[in-house]
């Protein structure tokens, strides 16, 4: 390999001096730089005044300067938006995982009439762009009396999250062996008890994958709150951000601080759990 390849490299200009791997390394470093610089500028700018952002956009700021954050803390509903996002995302995730596990367990562990059809019904919901059904959804929420109510968001997110959750968890549960359950049945354990005590501990890895795949789009969603929620006190973080950006349109430091605060929770969790995030979010696309 070595001799032939060396001469091969020698004949090429930049590839010859650096080696192919060197060139690839440069491309990767350049790309990582492009990915991270906007985020770094955002964080740096959050600690600067508008004047400093204009005169020295790339300089490292004085991180003790918390004036912008103090303004957000005291003058806006930012904390309320954050809390609303936590409540809505938390409630939706709890419902998705509970209902998704129930359906997946029934579909994967029991044979009954229509099981194949029901699975198809769930999977069909996977790629349908629900945004396009927003007019009937709006009317439905109005008829149910939950427009301008957080329940409307929780219900829609739950329905949207179920197809992928059922899909991932049915596949996972089918790979689990039957022996433990059969043994428990011999001992006279009831079906609910078998599901609770034996299956649930085993399906946790699939629940983590399904959870991550749904939590990010729900936390980040803007469209459904835009249509369903009018009351400022009920707004979610992405929706509240638009109100906030409008109010502080000229105070650049505060705007960047608001963006930084909004991005911080998910960036921090991503950095800690990047492996789970990457596999969770791409698992639907990789089969």
């Amino acid at each position: 390999m070595s001799a032939a390849e060396t001469t091969y490299y020698d004949r090429k200009g930049i590839i010859g001096t650096l080696g192919r791997d060197g060139l690839i390394q440069i491309i990767l470093i350049a790309n990582t730089f492009i990915m991270l610089v906007p985020i770094l500028i955002m964080v740096f700018s959050a600690f600067k005044s508008t004047q400093q952002i204009f005169t020295a956009p790339f300089s490292i700021p004085d991180f003790a300067n918390l004036i912008n954050f103090a303004k957000i803390w005291t003058e806006t509903n930012f904390l309320q938006y954050l809390l609303n996002s936590f409540v809505i995302t938390g409630a939706s995730m709890a419902l998705i995982l509970t209902l998704g596990t129930m359906a997946a367990y029934a579909l994967a562990r029991y044979e009954f009439f229509g099981a194949g059809f029901i699975l198809m019904f769930f999977i069909a919901g996977l790629t349908l762009p629900l945004k396009l059904a927003i007019i009937p959804l709006f009317m439905l929420m109005r008829d149910l009396g939950i427009l301008n109510n957080q329940l409307s968001l929780i219900f829609v997110y739950t329905a949207m999250g179920l197809p992928s959750t059922v899909f991932i968890m049915t596949g996972f549960i089918r790979t689990l062996p039957n022996e433990l359950e059969d043994a428990a049945r011999m001992d006279g354990a009831s079906e609910p008890r078998i599901m609770w005590a034996i299956m649930l501990p085993l399906v946790r890895p699939a629940m983590v994958i399904a959870g991550i795949q749904n939590v990010v789009p729900i936390w980040n969603d803007f469209f459904f709150p835009l249509v369903f929620i009018q009351n400022d006190a009920l707004k979610t973080l992405p929706q509240g951000l638009t109100t906030f950006m409008g109010e502080y349109a000229t105070d650049y430091g505060v705007l960047f601080a608001g963006l930084t605060l909004s991005a911080a929770p998910i960036i921090l969790i991503y950095i800690v759990l990047s492996r789970q995030f990457i596999s969770g979010m791409t698992s639907g696309a990789i089969k």
């Binding site: 790339f58 762009p129 007019i135 439905l140 980040n220 650049y252 696309a285």
Partner: protein
């Protein structure tokens, strides 16, 4: 099989399956079916009027000014789709190829390339909007700093650059997704095949075209379909960066914005028409479903031959 008495077993399965089924039926299936029905009625605000057959479809397709709005928005979606196909998915493929070599630091690069994907589109939209501000944005400030002041311009304020600014913001936001899907595809290529190819050729290019590309075909189907659905659903990014009207002068208008405006009205026109909106929704929906379906079947068939 469980040795329950038939009724007890049926009851237990019903209890497990009905609540999740009800959610999907009520909040996904029912609204989508209704969207089709709504499109055939004349709507007066929130009240349903008479059955008007294909009148709503005729208006949005053939009657001015709707017809030109529809054409304008649709043509922008097409541009967005092809541009992202090249920029985002094309770049994603080569980044995946670079990461696949597992050079020192590859893990760090992988985490970095996926980081923007977890951010909400709203944050990304505002971030780029601030960066592209004609006076205070870092893009123009750095151009001036580099002595290229004549290149500085109101990126989002002129028709010639606005749509491209949104496309680039989208590519930055999402390039990590196809990258990691392609990378996963490459990591499943058996080493024996790769070793065999190394004996045959030293050209990277031949290796990519003849071996890597055909073998990651399953990933290309998924990435293509997801991008297609995403590009024709484009809403948040143009809404934040360019506004609900697709300003300036409709140069960033896309079907998502146009549909939302038609259904729920906007500040300037105040118009709100559920019938025309539903007709648009149905057409976008069918267009996405047909193309995505055809592509999936076609590309899946090609995979089997490989």
């Amino acid at each position: 099989m469980p040795n329950l008495r038939p009724t007890g077993r049926g009851l237990w399965i019903t209890a497990l399956i009905v609540p999740p089924l009800a959610f999907v039926a009520l909040f996904i299936v029912y609204p989508i079916v209704s969207a089709f029905a709504y499109a055939f009625f004349d709507w007066q605000g929130l009240l349903r009027g008479e059955f008007v057959w294909f009148e709503n479809f005729r208006i949005v397709l053939f009657e001015e000014p709707y017809a030109s709005w529809t054409r304008n928005a649709f043509s922008h979606n097409i541009i967005v789709f092809f541009a992202l196909m090249v920029l985002q998915n094309g770049l994603g493929f080569f980044l995946a190829y670079a990461l696949w070599r597992e050079l020192p630091g590859a893990k760090f690069h992988r985490v970095a390339v996926f980081l923007p994907v977890v951010l909400s589109t709203i944050i990304v939209g505002y971030l780029f909007k601030l960066f592209l501000h004609p006076l205070f944005g870092v893009v123009n400030i750095s151009l001036k700093g580099m002595g290229l002041a004549e290149l500085a311009q109101p990126w989002l304020g002129q028709s010639s650059t606005a749509l491209w600014a949104l496309i680039i913001a989208n590519a930055w936001h999402m390039v990590g997704f196809p990258t990691l899907v392609f990378l996963a595809g490459m990591q499943r290529i058996p080493t024996e095949i790769l070793d065999a190819v190394r004996m045959e050729t030293r050209s990277e290019w031949v290796k990519i075209v003849k071996i890597v590309w055909p073998l990651v075909a399953p990933s290309t189907t998924v990435v293509f379909v997801l991008l297609f659905v995403g590009a024709f659903n484009w809403f948040e990014l143009p809404y934040i960066m360019a506004g609900l009207d697709g300003s300036p002068f409709g140069s960033t208008d896309v079907l998502g914005l146009y549909f939302y405006r038609t259904a729920f009205g906007n500040v300037s026109s105040g118009q709100q028409d559920f019938g025309l909106g539903s007709a648009l929704a149905v057409m976008i929906f069918l267009f996405i479903a047909v193309i995505a379906g055809v592509v999936t079947v076609r590309l899946r068939a090609r995979e089997i031959q490989l």
